[in-house]
Amino acid sequence: MIGNQYKAIVIGGSAGSFQVINKILSSLPRDFELPIVMCLHRLRHVRNGFVEALNIKSNIEIREPLDKESIKKNCIYLSPANYHLGIDIGNTFTLSTDELINNSRPSIDILLQTAAYVYRQKLVGILLSGANRDGALGMQKIAEKGGLTVIQDPKECLIDTMPSAALKVTPIDHILNTDSIIEFLLNLDRSVKSVITT
């Protein structure tokens, strides 16, 4: 059973991922069990509007976490503008204003690497469409710690640089199109719930 294997899901996305994310979010049930933490490249100096736009389609309210906030089940989080979002031991969020990485703040690599360190083999990492190489080293770290790696099929991506970069540096467990990513997440949720009820 894969259900009790996982504790959290992290998703990275950049150019061309907005529609994909929207479709995924609108397909998840309101009681989706595992916490999802998303790092999506966004305008650095526009603090408001993005999370509101994502919430229009999502069944679960997405929030931008505060520093030191605990990560909870059945919640979806989005990295805030102009901060790096990471996860620290003790299952809490940690923010920083360090230098840009891959020309980005938030950086997908930071979220994925810190999450891999905390959750180790109990993490699922999903990397979507994007025009740079952010997230590749993060996916490599997830694989190294024994977590599960998923990329959006480069053939389906609006811009495939990001998932292809990950594919070059690390083995990827699943290469899926949007519909299959949704199916994968729904299956994962079912098995998580079956473990809880039995």
Partner: protein
């Protein structure tokens, strides 16, 4: 690619630093601190984590000061979060000046000084710069000198100008600096009365009373227990009914001392000390 640093290794490094130099990094937020150390290893081209430890074991005070400068995060911009500066200009400062002839402001963790110049510009435009005593502090002496110098990269001025406009600055930011040797040299008269001083939030105590303390995006680098201690210092350093401002994604909710503050503006993270 160097090998991943483990927490036990970081602990031994913070212990060593504490013993040798009396700086305590033991309560820094772990993942950020680890990233800073990794950055130093790459920047200084150490062959391994142990090579860094060896260097810290034998290095002199001057080298250690450079190390401190690299560990502390000094990435900032003028008028960061413009909506906060609007709140400051339209509400916080007018309120304070209504009740007091003179007021005092502490920039805790002022880094390279962008926030201090932003404050001085705002006060100047409210025509009250001479009524305000400003103290700006940081743990890193080299960065304090940068703050005093007020020489910023021209590249950043584009963003600073945009922020200034969004912050409802009434003039043009060009009025406040001159281009010189490829740098934006800030008008020094803005900070002629500012006291720049070394202060370590981790270990130093309160050194005065203030009407407004700004400590934005500094405590994100501390763990919860250290945040609790720093907030005690701030509480002690504030007059009753005076203001504390933290970063837009920071919160006092989880702090022991939260019940002695009330929320003035939750979006901009402005708090007021309500109890002694």
């Amino acid at each position: 690619m160097i090998q991943e640093i483990e927490i036990a290794q970081l602990r031994s490094l913070t212990d060593l630093i504490k013993t040798r130099f009396n700086y305590d990094f033991g309560n820094y937020a772990m993942s950020s601190f680890k990233r800073r150390i990794q950055r130093i290893i790459e920047l200084y081209k150490f062959s391994s984590f142990d090579a860094l430890v060896e260097k810290i074991t034998t290095c002199d005070k001057k080298y250690f000061q450079d190390f401190i400068s690299e560990i502390t995060v000094n990435v900032t911009e003028m008028f960061r979060d413009p909506t906060f500066w609007v709140e400051l200009r339209e509400n916080i400062l007018p309120n304070l000046l209504l009740d007091n002839q003179t007021i005092s402001i502490w920039h805790a963790g002022c880094s390279s000084g962008e926030e201090v110049y932003s404050m001085a510009i705002t006060l100047h435009e409210l025509d009250c710069l001479d009524k305000v005593r400003i103290v700006a502090s940081d743990v890193d002496m080299a960065i304090l000198q940068k703050a005093r110098d007020g020489a910023y990269s021209l590249k950043n001025m584009e963003l600073n100008a945009k922020n200034y406009e969004r912050a409802k600055g009434t003039l043009s930011i060009d009025k406040y600096y001159k281009e010189q040797n490829g740098k934006a040299m800030m008008d020094k008269s803005l900070v002629k009365d500012v006291i720049f001083r070394e202060h370590n939030l981790v270990s130093d105590v309160s050194f005065g009373k203030f009407d407004l303390i700004l400590c934005r995006n500094v405590m994100i680098y501390f763990n919860q227990s250290l945040q609790n201690n720093v907030l005690k210092v701030f509480h002690e350093s504030l007059f009753k009914n005076s203001y504390l401002v933290v970063g837009s994604k920071e919160s006092l909710i989880w702090c022991e001392i939260a019940n002695k503050f009330s929320v003035v503006n939750n979006e901009e993270k402005v708090y007021k000390k309500t109890k002694e």
